[in-house]
């Protein structure tokens, strides 16, 4: 009995904090999601049923944003994991001797994504940017990185270069935890390094590959900061991710109910995807 009271007291700070900062807003979101509201009528929302949801689902920009986020998340996740895995496996012997090399490679992760977006503005700038400068000097030609034709590739590369270190770090840890005698046994059998990687090391690292792909996909899907500071919604809305779509609908256009409905749809989708992924990993573990 005293234990139960004690447990309640121990859990109370976190539970109350969650309820206040997330519970209450969630209720608000549901209320405003089914109401007709603008910034002028903020305190007197008018019930409008599912009108907001219908509006969102009929909005081509919403679907464009959803497609952008899916594509962006999937492509960057695969690129980051491939690069990170290659780097981790190849550099592992170097890292074992010189641990500080890891610190150099993870610097991009410690820089705010928003700052990274701003830095790329400088790097890619027509006149002040070093990248176009050297491309002109060496090739006599430089693409317009932020034009409609290239902007998607540009943001994909920017995101990939910033977060490849994350994948690298996960794979490095996984690689280092492979028992040394497994490798030695393979070496005694005369297995070549390349073959050893595919038949022994990669299968052992496979769970980490799934985890890394999953995390990087989620982060890519919900991307906001770096794209927003680099190009905003992009030419013709071409880099509008789901997060940017909701932000613009809310603050730029003041369509509160619609933005909220989009947020609720995103929440439900993300929640279902998460539950599904966890069920799958649990099954795979068994």
């Amino acid at each position: 009995m005293t234990n139960r009271r004690e447990n309640a007291i121990l859990a109370a700070p976190l539970v109350l904090f969650l309820l206040a900062i997330l519970g209450f807003p969630t209720v608000l979101a549901l209320v405003y999601g089914v109401s007709d509201t603008s910034f002028q009528t903020l305190t007197s929302p008018e019930f409008s049923g599912l009108a907001n949801f219908r509006q969102v689902l009929a909005d081509p920009t919403f679907w464009q944003a959803a497609w952008f986020s899916l594509r962006f998340g999937a492509i960057t996740a695969v690129l980051q994991c491939a690069l990170g895995l290659a780097l981790a496996v190849y550099l592992a012997p170097l890292v074992r001797l010189h641990g500080w090399t890891v610190a150099i490679l993870i610097i991009p992760m410690i820089v705010a994504p928003a700052m990274m977006g701003l830095m790329y503005r400088l790097v890619l700038h027509e006149f002040a940017g070093p990248l176009p400068h050297y491309l002109y000097q060496w090739l006599g030609w430089s693409p317009a990185f932020l034009s409609p034709a290239h902007v998607f590739k540009t943001v994909v590369v920017a995101e990939t270069l910033q977060w490849t270190p994350f994948a690298f770090l996960l794979f490095l840890t996984a690689y280092q935890s492979i028992p040394e005698d497994l490798r030695e046994a393979a070496a005694v059998d005369g297995t070549r390094p390349w073959r050893r990687f595919w038949t022994i090391e990669l299968p052992l690292m496979l769970p980490t590959v799934w985890v890394a792909l999953f995390i990087r996909f989620i982060d890519g899907f919900r991307v906001f900061d770096n794209i927003y500071t680099l190009v905003g919604a992009g030419p013709g809305g071409s880099t509008t991710s789901m997060s940017i779509y909701i932000y613009e609908t809310f603050l730029r256009r003041g369509e509160i109910g619609k933005a909220m409905a989009a947020a609720i749809l995103l929440f439900v989708t993300a929640f279902l995807a998460l539950a599904l992924a966890q069920r799958l990993t649990r099954k795979a573990a068994r």
Partner: protein, 275 residues
Amino acid sequence: MKPRMTLRWIVFAFAAFILNFPVIATLITAFKGAGEVSRNPSLWVQAPTLENFATVLTVSDRLNVYHYLWNSTVAALIGAVLPMLVAFPLAWAMVRRGVGRGVLFPLVVNLRALPLIIFAIPLYMMFSVAGLLDTRLGLGLILAIVNLPLALLLLVNAVAEIPAEIEEAAHMDGARTGRLLLRVVLPLCRPALITTFVFGFITAWNEFLFGLMLTTREAVPMTVGASFFFATSGGGVQWGLAAAVMVVAALPPLVLGLVMYRRITGSMVAGAVKG
């Protein structure tokens, strides 16, 4: 064996250069004078100068970098410490008594995977009513939510590693739960607390979306302030100054991160593997 290692060094140097290219370019540009920036976009500075930093670090109508830095520091401190405070007692109760294992733990940990924008709008409404819009406290509270999942995860792991016998011995001596937590468990969790703090502070400092939405003047954090600088400089951005602003903005987390990189890498891996 030797040439192989040399090749690895080359690959490392190449990767380090490409991955850090924006940071390197920004750092170099920050040392170019106003005239040189437009003439010389290369990675070589002809006449290195500190004038950009001098301008940035001087308070003017257009830019008060100390204001932004102070806002970021306060908000990031709240955002890093508060989650540890609320998560610590629960983490212990979870490990020793199974409290909240079924619902609360997965709920909190999964928060990490949700797009934050979902909560940004209702929080904006709530804050405007509660008078928390554009305050450092308001921003700090949100950053605490962002950091909560990893804080809980790391503290649960830390408590689980404490041998139960140590706590039992303290119980025998008649220590009550509150005293036990403060005198025995808390000191033993110190490494995890430091990691949680470092990681939380960096994450909070680097956050952008909530700063953009929930602050306008008084509590604008450094990341958002730096982006203002780009937007408000009219037609042409002064790249030397802009670069210096970014260097100042990125420096605090970078220094903290590089000094503590072992802890950060560890917690990142722990967070990923258990999540």
